[in-house]
Subunit: 168 residues, 2 copies
């Protein structure tokens, strides 16, 4: 069996989203134990001009759902970015999981050369599917998963690298 | 052309290592401008019980060189982890780049089912090549690239997301 575009995308995103929920739950435990309100937790940042925890999680789910849809050549489902609680964020992650699991491998396999055009900071940027997955979606997805972890880790949550990685 | 194990590994690592050098150079500029010594910069951490900048960079290069070698079925070259300056870190990244660029695609393509056994926190863990690349090496590599970025970003370096991503 040789590596395929599907195998390098959807199952990798599923694993990252499940790990993200796990990391957030540990953040929630920490916040409860310390009397930190969910509002404060969701607005916690590494530095004021970086995105807060809430937005980091929103972007991870966007990378997973948009990446999957665009590789399949369909218009991504729109999420409204209106979450204000941790439970709503968990539900967003679940919605993204349900959505990406709904794609068949056959929709994504063979998308190496499929044209993907997106706006990056206002500029239309065109990729082939393989470049989009390997050089845009995966680095972005892991960047925002890691930053979510780093925000919670720095805040004091009981997290270790194994929480980020998940079970093999 | 279909996605291959080589395409999903070596060129992705090359891009990440080049971006890492770029991010570190911006960190170096910041340190120079603020009179922060390289020794202090290399020991900067997000929180005292996380790894310092120096170690984050060492781990990124380890993931790239070990990942490449093990997928090719050869014993990875050993780096001594004895860097104490930024210039030595840049040289380590270059050494890793030279090493991984020395592998032929034919050594890594077809490694999906190749057995890879490594120690993770003291426990022997066995992967097939595809699982090792997608669920161990890539998340780890991007975790430590992102944490390097976050350490420097939080410290005050003039960094933006585009510095992390590099040019498409």
């Amino acid at each position: 069996m040789s590596l395929s575009m599907y195998q390098a995308s959807v199952p990798v995103f599923v694993r990252a989203l499940n790990n993200l929920t796990h990391v957030l739950k540990k953040g929630e435990e920490y916040a409860k134990a310390k009397g930190v309100t969910p509002e404060v937790l969701l607005q916690t940042r590494l530095i004021p001009d970086m995105l807060p925890l809430l937005k980091q999680v929103q972007v991870v789910t966007d990378m997973a759902k948009n990446g999957t849809a665009r590789l399949a050549g369909v218009t991504p489902m729109v999420f409204e970015d209106n979450e204000t609680t941790l439970d709503e964020l968990y539900a967003r992650i679940e919605r993204a999981l349900d959505y990406i699991k709904g794609f068949e491998a056959s929709q994504i396999d063979g998308s190496e050369a499929r044209s993907v055009t997106i706006k990056i900071r206002g500029n239309e940027t065109q990729f082939d599917g393989q470049t989009y997955l390997l050089y845009f979606i995966l680095p972005n997805l892991f960047f925002h998963c890691t930053t979510t972890y780093n925000i919670l880790r720095e805040a004091g949550a009981e997290l270790g690298k194994a929480d980020f990685m998940g079970k093999p």
